[in-house]
């Protein structure tokens, strides 16, 4: 089956992202397709390539990246909501340029896109599961 995931919380503060990651990993292992993971609210912080956890802790950002969730065109399907991301200081190269900001912090395994991607995930997937606070 095609499953999509919505994550409403950032890493470390809440368990939501960890649970969603374990769920996604198990779904892939069972032969299901993760159509898209959509990061919303503080969930956008899961995409920061500057995350540096202590050595004996899990790296949640790298965990997500390791699942290598991509579409047929090779684009990442770890999708960060652009509106939620911009207001929280999460930018990719394109958004940094557009907004005149001299840096970007989105991990290459993720991509920034609009809220329509969440609706589309709901339409295209057999199931959509929300993880939050």
């Amino acid at each position: 089956m095609k499953i999509s995931i919505q994550i409403n919380e950032g890493p470390y503060q809440h368990q939501a992202s960890d649970t969603a990651y374990q769920f996604a990993k198990a779904a892939i292992a069972k032969g299901h397709e993760i159509f898209r993971v959509f990061f919303y609210h503080d969930g956008v912080d899961n995409a920061s390539r500057f995350t540096v956890p202590p050595q004996d802790d899990r790296n949640i950002v790298n965990n997500w990246a390791s699942l290598d969730i991509k579409n047929a065109d090779g684009e990442p399907e770890l999708v960060v909501c652009v509106a939620a991301a911009l207001r929280r200081g999460m930018l990719d190269e394109g958004e940094a340029g557009k907004n005149g900001i001299d840096g970007n912090n989105i991990h290459p395994a993720f991509r920034i896109s609009g809220l329509g991607q969440l609706i589309e995930a709901g339409i295209q997937s057999d199931r959509l599961v929300v993880f939050g606070d």
Binding site: Q6, N8, Y40, H41, A83, A84, G114, L115, G116, L118, I119, E120, G122, I123, L128, V130, G132
Partner: protein, 134 residues
């Protein structure tokens, strides 16, 4: 592709957290997708619809006005838990008079908000294909 039934489940009050505002932003985008959209308001989520919100004193945008625009986008199924209202000492008269115009009925103005008991909310929820929680 068949139209799906989407429910937006709102259980949090506005302003204290960003969930209500960002949920509304999703609903505005959802309007462009021609799906069957309904909004459920339970628990403190009912406060999102309360009339007379005034945010000058907290330096935040009063986004409650945006709910009035949703009727123009055919988003007119607002289901409010009767029990949640009653527990909070509220009634439908405390909520914003949200309306939509029914083109099949000579553009008659009709209320978008329906106060329903939890038993009916249960039934509505069980008919959904996708439930987005905020």
């Amino acid at each position: 592709m068949a139209i799906k039934k989407f429910m937006y489940l709102n259980r949090r009050a506005p302003y204290g957290t960003v969930y209500a505002l960002e949920s509304l932003e999703v609903v505005l985008i959802a309007a462009a997708f021609d799906q069957d959209v309904s909004l459920a308001f339970m628990d403190d989520g009912v406060y999102q619809l309360v009339e007379g919100q005034k945010t000058d004193g907290i330096g935040m945008k009063n986004f409650s006005k945006t709910f009035h625009a949703l009727g123009d986008y055919d988003i007119n199924q607002f289901f409010v838990s009767a029990e949640s209202l009653e527990e909070r000492g509220l009634s439908v008269d405390d909520l914003m008079p949200l309306v939509w115009e029914d083109e099949d009925d000579d553009w008659a103005e009709k209320p978008s908000i329906k106060v329903v008991p939890n038993a009916e909310l249960t039934k509505i929820m069980s008919e959904q294909d996708v439930c987005l929680s905020f």
